[in-house]
Amino acid sequence: MENEYYLEMSGISKTFPGAKVLDNIEFNVKAGEVRALMGENGAGKSTLIKILGGIYDMDSGQGTIRINGEEAKINTVQDAQHYGIGIIHQEISLAENMSIADNLFMGKEIKGGALLNDREMVRRSQAILEEMGLGVDARTKVRDLSIAKQQMVEISRALLSNAKIIVMDEPTSSLTKTEIDQLFLQIENLKKSGIAIIYISHRMDEIFEIADSISILRDGKMIGTDTVENLTQDKVISMMVGRELSEIFKRDGKIDVGEVCLEVKHYSNEKIRDINFSLRKGEIVGFAGLVGAGRTELARAIFGIDKVDSGELYINGERANIQNTQDAIRYGIGYVPEDRKTEGLFLMHTIKYNTSIVVLDKFIKNVGVNKKYENELIGKYADALSIKMTSPEQKVQFLSGGNQQKVVLGKWMAADPDIFILDEPTRGVDVGAKAEIYQLIYGLAKQGKAVMLISSEMEEIINLSDRIVVMHEGSVTGVLDNNETSRAKQEEIMWFASGGKENAKN
């Protein structure tokens, strides 16, 4: 082969109004290679991918894309498909009202004669679902799938496309270990059949497990590419953030754990069964489990979003009756939800608006806005969270994912509850921002707040929590102490997470 790279992107620039998001990017990938693309939130990873996928146009002029040595003109999604580019986008993009089969074949339906051949589409879909280890009927509507399964469907779609280049933009953000293992198996297969894979993720351990080489973007510039053998986590992190980031889980000073402030007894509804646990002031309790274990459902039940069929809740020893979110907030609970876009943010509104919406009481008394107080409040939390923004008047939709996540956190910090429920608080957040969020979580604990931390990242759970509650299919299967003296083991957690019956793989 005269040309070692299957995909060559060179001189790619992209300017959004007022911002140069990509600056003269050089990015080449070989066939049969897994290339990780890393960078902080807002570095421009998704933008680069969207240019490759024909969703954005690159700035006219210099840039070229070559595929298999030939120059490729990619102006539309169809062009990209034509060149054998398949993309799993960062946001799950499935039509929920349609079946899995319909989604898998969306845009490339199979016809038998003049009309559609549903039978064939369902048959092929079913085959790929089996291969992915998803035990569902291909005619199931996507709406009825969990987020994790939806993400698996997205992945299946790319596999089905016969693409020569497959891009995965944070494919594992909603997946847990078992599903990730499935995915990695598939990636190995793809590699073997000579497909070029671009893999974007913020999860360091994954990158080093699956990638052959890593490219790093920072502020729209390509900082460098090297093979995994030549890189270490610390090196990658420093390339990403432009400085050393010694210990991201570093906790300075010991936090005193106080008395019990939240106690859940025998909580049950359709999704959770007889849940018992308690939180203490200044304590961080990690909630581990496979996706679908019912952690989010538990959080929703506590926060008054979902109905509780039986069970009691005690706040500071007193029985609390929480019927809706207002009640929960009144009892001093704050909830950073799992899905920031649909549950956490008002995208069309400003950062200021978003951070102040829960605390309107503090600066609007009946009629009239105390602007000064409002601005101080926003200033305080924007600083504390170091949100990358041009001003508090910036609309949230123009922030990168990590900064959006910080806005959601800021909103609840401003509300100053006693009990924080954090549901996947670092999903899609880069290492730098992660480290900052971890410090914020410690800070909360230090102030005597109780933190219920739901996370699917084992590292996070093990390193942040004082105690770990493990759930499986709606029940608590284990509670592990996790302090300086006795660190919980990943195997142990996995054992409980898979029901405590069989030994977890791995």
Partner: protein
Amino acid sequence: MQKISENKIGVGSNPVVVFFKNNMGILIALLALCAVLSIATDSFLTANNLLTVLRQICINAFLAIGMTFVLIIGGIDLTVGSVVGASGVAVVMLMESGVAIAPAIIVALLFGAAIGLINGTIIAFTGMPPFIVTLSLMGSLRGLCYLITDGRSVASKNELFTVIGNGYLFGIPIPIYILVVTAVVMSILLYKTKFGRRMYAVGGNENAARFAGIKIKGLTIRVYMISGILSALAGIVLASRMYSGQPTAGDGYEADAIAAAVLGGTSFNGGIGTIGGTIIGALVIGILSNGLNLLHISSYVQMIIKGLVIILAVGFDILKNRKMARQ
């Protein structure tokens, strides 16, 4: 894990079963209505009256099928009533000016397509809300229609033309045949072609459709064109029924078309809708007014009842679905 709830768009196991399951609420409403009317009046359950009702619903059914298409892709088309008026006037004027019946009809249908093209193009390329675009064009088109006719109706002297709306074939009114053919063609288009499948995708999740390489603009334009053509078809049949092109015809028809589609389970948020459901919706609305007339209920009370029935039927449907979906 969770129960697989049946599929509204009919990819489920047995299409007939799925259809009945999905439209249970409205089917029950329809049957109840028929039962009550059969008992309360002598005249409801006669072949003659049923044919009358069927013929009456044809106009609304044409519009409602087009509206279903538009609603499935997440749009709305308020111009349908104005197109009914304008195309009826157009077809009659053309014939009166000496054009033969077939080309006159074709030109009128093309006119409907052209209005759809304008609607669709503006919506697809500017991203303006379809409600605003079609509301504005509804007014403009009606004004144009008055301007051309000077507000007067145009009588048709073409015998053959009047047969379309008024004639019978084997004892069944001709508009019913036209409706059946239309429904079958549109069903094939919707369920059995790429175009139809992609309509559901665009209405279900526009971004997903875009990422899947579906050409959303083109599809949007074609859907509005279909609505325009069906509206023109309704206008032609109506003009034939009235032996004339009436510039006022079709005023306010969009409301019944939307009601029929929504009663039939078409979602206002896009992505969901069936032609069978829509036709049942049109039947409910048609039978309701027929029945209320047979029961000698004053038109004022009829207005009140009609509104309430729609709310009850759609509400029942939504609550039922919610129950199925949640717990």
